[in-house]
Symmetry: C2
């Protein structure tokens, strides 16, 4: 195994998976999908379908206990509602992080991925953080500063055996989709919406971001 992709079943991580497969071939790529008490468990089902579509090995972890004490609105035990407005609207009155920021989630998930990747003899961990999520510090664990430090921590802490690949740091979600369209990513199988409903709500920040990213590529998913 060469590369492990942190894989939620959303637009960004599915594009990452396609890039890793394009570089290493599917036999050398595995996906890691993590449950963490998220309201939108449905993304894990999407992740399973996409891993099957590509024919890659998939690992699963459940890390929800770590967030038992968090009041993040993305978590099913939280009483907070998921805001039905864009990130920029959410940050008009206060700076980030937004209420859907799960405390140090990307640090935790990347560390778990590094542990699994080392056990499987991988040389790279991929994840799909991008610049739109980092803007205004909405998600501080998507910033270039976080990514650079985490990459060094993983390289040094693994005995210089593992590198972190974050191809979309500083790029927009529209650019992510542009890359994915060239790689024929099966976006119809992906799941973005933060609410745990049968269909995407079309109103939460991630639904709005998804729609805008596809429209920027002249695609209307409705």
């Amino acid at each position: 195994m060469k590369a492990l992709v942190l894989f939620s079943g959303g637009v960004d991580s599915t594009t990452c998976l396609a890039m890793a497969i394009d570089k290493y071939s599917r036999q050398n790529v595995a996906a890691l999908s993590i449950s963490y008490g998220q309201k939108h468990k449905k993304e894990i089902e999407a992740a399973k379908k996409i891993a099957a579509f590509y024919g890659v090995e998939q690992f699963f972890l459940d890390l929800k206990d770590i967030f038992n004490l968090s009041d993040c609105s993305l978590l099913e035990h939280s009483n907070k509602e998921i805001p039905l407005k864009s990130y920029s609207e959410q940050m008009e009155k206060s700076s980030g992080p937004v209420s859907t920021y799960v405390p140090f989630r990307n640090g935790l998930f990347l560390s778990a991925a590094a542990s699994v990747a080392l056990s499987k003899g991988c040389e790279a961990v991929y994840y799909g953080a991008h610049g739109d999520d980092a803007a205004g510090n909405a998600y501080p664990d998507c910033t270039a500063e976080f990514n650079e430090a985490m990459g060094i921590a993983i390289f040094e802490g693994s005995g210089k055996k593992l590198i972190l690949e974050a191809p979309f740091i500083g790029k927009s979600k529209a650019e992510v989709v542009r890359v994915g369209l060239k790689l024929n990513v099966p976006y119809n199988l992906t799941w973005s919406c933060y609410q745990g409903l049968d269909k995407p709500c079309g109103k939460c920040a991630t639904c709005l971001d998804r729609k805008a990213a596809f429209l920027a590529n002249s695609i209307c998913e409705d």
Copy 2:
């Protein structure tokens, strides 16, 4: 809550706990003890007794599933024996990491600690990595390079809310004990041995390191 201490119940993390209590007072300090499939589960019992001794709040996590695929000799599912010789002897014929290196364990544990610490409103995470464990890259996740990068990742990824305190980076275990003796750390309650026996084996690397660190402070624990 002000500080969360990554707390195994061994010499180094117990000294860290004492330092955090000395700085913040016990009401503002909590301990996080993590099971990860280690052969020496006994350290968790020691950690409980020490947390009770100090009267600090204690959290527990079980992260063993993350290491299911690892063949590290420290893990109970591994067929490998724990080497009964010092770290320097273990590295005479090969460089680090040693066979008891658990893949990216400190990165994972610090990330989990950062998640819990943010949920509790802490401003600092403490851990007891020291220079003897880093020597020769025996444990690459104890090095100054790893620690510096992980500290930046935690600071940036938390939205600049959380700092990482590693007071023993670059220091020897003998220096750790010297600090702890001044703080009256109850070392008789701590557990170091990597083997899951009733009494310390006295032969594994951590038993040997512990003995040497106390002897350097003119204390014989036998």
